[in-house]
Amino acid sequence: MTDEWRPVDLSSLDPTRRVDWPARVDATRRAVAARVASRAVPQGPLEVLGRWSRPILAAAAVLLALLGGAEALLHGAVSTPPAQLGEARRLALLSEASVAHGRRPSGAELRALLREPTP
């Protein structure tokens, strides 16, 4: 067997030989455990909605605004129940504000929005 087929001794680069390596592994383990634990929290449907990512929310807002506008143009304002249009507008505004401020709407905000009476 030639030299090229024998392993090179790289053991001096072995991190487990260093005294600070176990602390590094433990720190990583703790960080990982914290992140995994946060996944285990049960979520209701409103919380899930509240965690929508910004791009999806922005796209939904644009889509709602477009659909509302298109429907109003095609059939006139009378055929669209005002309550639904109001909800759509409020949802679009909330989404827009959330995207602008870089934060997700909370479940409470969404709940309040859907219950709010249309003027």
């Binding site: 090229e4 001096s12 680069l13 072995d14 487990t16 592994v25 455990a33 995994v36 285990a40």
Partner: protein, 179 residues
């Protein structure tokens, strides 16, 4: 029987920290080897492998093929390491005395090991990144050819070739260095 990566990933997605721990035991050293192949610096490699592993767990829902978790993870670590190299800040070296006190190693032995490390890192720097990854995963971490091929997305023949050239190159540089 060893639990598959896909099964462990599914458990992590369900919030099972022990599964994440198993993935850490399985891949953390390989992450460090890949990070070292990119950075050429042990402290940077430690940072990159830690940050990369945590980031991978955070975004585990985006791992499209959980059976190939290892390759996906190593790519995240590789990217982290590249970013770290790009934005590398001047790092002050930890005083040698700290290692000596904590480990109880003699000063002479520590200095000798430090010099050997420096020589090896310098010799590795002359290889291509793929060659460095292959030789570190094989000769340091003990991975088999097919494991390396699978996780790095290389053909088995390419892995053998990289390993062969890397070893030959390292031996030549190290023997010239000692001569």
């Amino acid at each position: 029987m060893e639990e598959t990566d896909a099964a462990l990933v599914a458990r992590v997605r369900g919030g099972d920290a022990r599964a994440a721990d198993r993935l850490l035991e399985r891949y953390f050293r390989a992450c460090r080897a890949v990070a070292l192949a990119v950075t050429g610096d042990e402290a940077d490699a430690d940072d990159a492998c830690q940050e990369g592993f945590v980031a991978a767990i955070e975004q585990i829902d985006t791992c499209r093929d959980p059976a190939r978790f290892g390759g996906w993870l190593l790519q995240i670590v590789r990217n982290r390491a590249r970013n770290l190299v790009r934005h590398r800040a001047i790092r002050t070296t930890e005083p040698l005395e700290l290692h000596q006190l904590a480990g109880g190693v003699s000063a002479a032995a520590e200095v000798e090991r430090g010099e050997l490390r420096e020589r090896l890192l310098a010799a590795l720097a002359e290889l291509s990144q793929a060659q460095r990854e292959v030789v570190l995963l094989h000769d340091l971490e003990g991975w088999k050819h097919d494991e390396i091929a699978g996780h790095l997305g290389l053909a088995a023949g390419t892995v053998r070739s990289h390993l062969h050239h890397a070893r030959r190159h390292l031996r030549r540089i190290l023997s010239e260095d000692l001569a």
